[in-house]
Amino acid sequence: MNYNWNWSIFFDQSPEGTGTYADMLLSGLLWTLATALCSWIIAFCLGSIIGVMRTLPSKAANAIGTGYVELFRNIPLLVQMFLWYSVMPEVVPENWGNWLKQLPNASFYTAVICLGFFTASRVAEQVRTGIESLPRGQRMAGTALGLTTAQTYRYVILPIAYRVILPPLTSEFLNNMKNTSVALTIGLLELTARARSMQEFSSQVFEAFTAATVIYLGISLLVVTVAGKIETRVAVPGAR
């Protein structure tokens, strides 16, 4: 293989004129983090609500929850990205569509919404499994004390369920972070998109993607470490 390694490429000015290649990757990293965190907030809140709905006695709540999960989990993320970005502005009333199309950073907002809704379906499944893993008697004990259903969830069921699902929830968080790269298809200049531009401008493909890989790995390690700390912190004394 005839390849010219050049690790100092990161300090060269990029042809975009906005700084070095390192600056370019850094700005990609910031978009990746912003997209990952904002979409996670949606995914966690919405996913918790949907997951809880699937465990309620109400048949209607169950049906809505199941419908949501099946819809958003079974359409490929890439297709969902295009649906939100290209199809959505065309099917809503015309003035909304026009407003959407001229929105600055539209690809960022779209990516946040799309990933948030997609990951919510996966969070919902974790929340439901966590709740269903608890002994039925816990719910009964809360109910028997006179707690309402909402109070039983708030003070008894969810605090235990979230502890149970903390490890799989960490995986979902990491998946969500990595899935932000799909948003390059709708023009979001996140880390993977930036690594690709760098490769196209400089032809240093190995350096560009090594950097991207190391950065993704670094974030993941950081997340796993923090999640481990949280787990230790919320661990229940004497729990089996």
Binding site: G137, A141, G142, L145, G146, L147, V236, P237, G238, A239
Partner: protein, 254 residues
């Protein structure tokens, strides 16, 4: 429907009137009728699968019924407009598997219902909780978590938790069945103490010693039916039905 139709003086604390319950096609309770009057201790016994645990859970509507009616202190459990959380808060319940909340300290377990259901202040709830904890002999464990206590200790905390709501009646669903034998006594002692103080109690249990000691009446169930409902002495000395005789001979043989 409501017991206000009957004379107030004779109104039972718990009145179970002809209730039936099905799980799908399977009938688990068949036309059960019994009462618990104020200050009375009623033991419910019977072979496993006889419906006794289901029966006691219908009293605070943890299990719905399809036929019949139940009143607690004159309030219809199935009646439309009954504030079930409020009714349940006045009915203490102790479960076979304790069901303490594992993520809360013992003190917080004792405070949760008082704070969120009764709206008591933190200080009032804590002081009530600690008083009750002392009463069940576990003051030293206030700061611990349920997983750090033995089964017998957990069940005593569960009794204290139920008492923290100042219940008008206590339901016990096989409170000693999940315990190692050496821990049964400490839990029964607490229950005997309660009975002697005049607490109205409905107790599902196999502990016939407890029944002999403090029960006023014994309800014997088999296959979803109440087969015998008799005074304690009548039940133990001259059970009328064959099924009760068989049950007693098995359970008292050892």
């Amino acid at each position: 429907m409501s017991a206000s139709a009957s004379p107030a003086s004779a109104a039972p604390m718990i009145a179970i009137n002809g209730i039936s319950k099905w799980y799908g096609p399977v009938q688990v309770l068949n036309d059960c009728t019994t009462q618990v009057t104020k200050g009375e201790v009623v033991v419910v016994c019977g072979p496993s699968g006889s419906g006794k645990s289901t029966l006691i859970k219908t009293v605070n509507a943890l299990e719905p019924i399809q036929k019949g009616s139940i009143t607690v202190d004159g309030i219809g459990v199935q009646a439309k407009g009954t504030d079930l959380p409020k009714l349940r808060s006045r009915v203490g319940m102790v479960f076979q598997h304790f069901e303490l909340f594992p993520h809360l300290s013992i003190t917080d377990n004792l405070m949760l219902g008082q704070r969120k259901v009764l709206g008591r202040s933190a200080e009032a709830a804590r002081s009530t909780g600690l008083t009750l904890l002392e009463r069940v002999g576990l003051s030293a464990h206030a700061h611990k978590y349920p997983g750090q206590l033995s089964g017998g200790q957990q069940q005593r905390v569960a009794i204290a938790r139920a008492l923290s709501m100042n219940p008008i009646v206590m339901l016990f669903d096989e409170p000693t069945s999940a315990l190692d034998p050496e821990m049964v006594g400490e839990v029964l002692d607490v229950m005997v103490g309660l009975a002697k103080e005049g607490m109205t109690m409905m107790v599902v249990t196999h502990e016939m010693g407890f029944a002999r000691k403090v029960a006023n009446r014994v309800v014997f169930m088999d296959r979803g039916e109440i087969v015998e409902d008799a005074g304690k002495d009548d039940f133990f000395d001259k059970p009328r039905s064959d099924r009760a005789q068989t049950f007693l001979s098995k359970i008292l043989a050892h």
